[in-house]
Amino acid sequence: MMSKTATFIGMPPFPIAAKKALADSQLRGNIRNATHTIRTKRARVCAELDDFEQLRQAGADIKDDVLRNLGRYLEQVEESLTAAGATVHWARDAAEANQIVVDIARRHRVDEVVKVKSMATQEIELNTALEAAGIAAWETDLAELIVQLGNDLPSHILVPAIHRNRSEVREIFLREMGKVGMPAEADLSDEPAELAGAARRHLREKFLRAKVAVSGANFLVAETGTLVVVESEGNGRMCLTLPEVLISVVGIEKIVPAWTDLEVFLQLLPRSATGERMNPYTSTWTGVAPGDGPQEVHVVLLDNGRTQVLADQVGRQALRCIRCSACINVCPVYERTGGHAYGSVYPGPIGAILTPMLRGVGLDEQTDALPFASSLCGACYEVCPVLINIPEVLVHLREKVVDSHRGGVPGALQAAMTGASWTLAGSRRLAMLQRFAGLSGRMFGRRGLIGRMPAPLSRWTDARDLPAPPRESFRGWWARTDGGRRDAASPSGNTRNIGDKE
């Protein structure tokens, strides 16, 4: 059972992609600035609530309850949505979900849809499927518009165009807007307010004429069939209100049991995501409201690998995720590599666990590298509003990746480990090897580091700089100085007092 989760086509595995990203100082500067700004704001507004820890615990507990009883809640939400006048669809995978959306759009004979920013529709690559069916999908979130017009990839869940600076955005708008609708004014400056104004004018004609809109949802209340979209710009409200037909693609883990549960998540999400007490706009709708908004409402319940994650006892906590991106904003690895290196719509720590579980491990090199794209520092767990223990899941997935490569020809890592166990099992073998390593260390350890080594050792050094071995092993030093009691001059001539000073 392999689900289709968007991989950025031709994306190299993380260590190689990361190396390229690390060399881009503009990108690193943008990302550092963005993540530090948001994380500082997050810390400030979360500290304002003296019950924030209790809210996190409640958030985790509610989501665990959903996962434990997911079958029952799915049937309940289907019933309440239907009673409210919505049509419920079920999609096992991306292809099925895309086909459902395409069929609805075709039935209404439209050649375009407007879209609210949604991770689920990015995950299933809905825009590509619509395009193949001759239907244009207009992204209406400002950052998504920048990414779409620039024929680019998102690099962050929350601020997907954070890798672009204002002059790049201006160039993209001037060059591309006219090709797909209202052009930007020729004298457009690179002031963010002016650029946002250009986006407002460009998209307004699309909002006013669109017949069909596609959204995701932040939450779906089982008890009432209420969908929730949390946003800032008002593009979500436009899409959810003006068109005649609304299709929402919702991952099955987005369910919360009861209306009351939103009192927890509507505090956790805005504070953890943008560091605001509340985001500018939150829309909730329950099926069809007569005379107000779309009169045809569809909900596509999406699996696409989520049940596979659910089957993983350790990893299933990732399904609690409310896509706030707090983990991304504190991650030292993300801060240095940016989002593209992860090769998935879900970057950063949450992506490093969610992507491999959705896709399945042991199937491709790019995915299998993701659980290793972490220093296990634990900062992500510290900020997660639903207490996902990301380091625990990372370690668990590393085991699964290694296990999945067993059984066939032993990999280089396994061969090295077998060699190590032979060496470490005998003290004379170890002493011999250390003497050799010390000598060779003198040859290539000038900067105290070993760079890229030839295969099969490159499997290790591609991703790491290896410290050069010391010139003398501890065992050698102990034998020579009688544990530091004799003259401790090192073999290279540096004199240093060690141990007994009397």
């Binding site: 600035n33 963005a34 700004t37 948001i38 019950d51 209790q54 615990q57 409640a58 507990d61 665990d64 309850d65 997911l70 079958g71 096992r92 400002l142 920048i146 601020v159 165009a161 672009r164 204002r166 963010p192 946002a196 986006a199 407002r200 307004r204 909002f207 006013l208 209420t226 800032s232 710009e233 008002g234 409200r237 209100t241 003006l242 049991p257 009351t260 009192e263 509507l266 505090q267 943008t274 007490r277 509340m278 985001n279 500018p280 706009y281 829309s283 909730t284 709708w285 329950t286 099926g287 409201a289 107000d292 908004g293 699996d303 049940t307 596979q308 659910l310 089957a311 993983d312 006892q313």
Partner: protein, 213 residues
Amino acid sequence: MKAREEILRRVGSALVAAPDVRSTEPDGDDGIRRDYAHTRELPDRLALFVERVENYRARVIRTDPEGVVAAVAKSLAGARRTVVPSGFNPAWIPNDPGIVRDEPVLGAGDLDTVDAVLTSAVVGIAVTGTIVLDHTEGQGRRALTLVPDLHVCVVTADQIVGDVPEAISRLRSSVNKGRPLTWISGPSATVDIELKRVEGVHGPRTLRVVLVE
């Protein structure tokens, strides 16, 4: 219904094969710890509401019932045409020839030529500086408060609650009736370009609140 049965089967077998280690809860207990604050003690709820709304750079005018018309007129300054939904308190509508009604229902294009919208709300939240509309009488359908560039919203002191849990509790009856809700915290905003905050993208670029005490 093949996909439906298949997904429910997958969910069932995932949970049977690997049950939740914490699933053995006491009888009737859903295992959810809800020891967070359900109400907040605030020394001055209304003052905090005003401060927090103004933090989003939305202007607030506090007034007694007699002063509402003047406050509304001041808030609408500059708007040539203002749409007012049915059910809005007639005593709060300034005597202004630019008032338009949403009867018959205005098309989206017509609405786009209106400068402002004047509505009431159903709940205000002090801690987060939020106003909530359930789009019943006096608040209009959702498009009314979305397309015009200026939104003037009149809220009354009794509508202001402390924080989100109190609001959720008050809004339950609206949701049970199937009403859509719009939670508004300041004017629309974006930080998508270099994290510089820009007010006003697609929704109303200006929000003004009149608080009636």
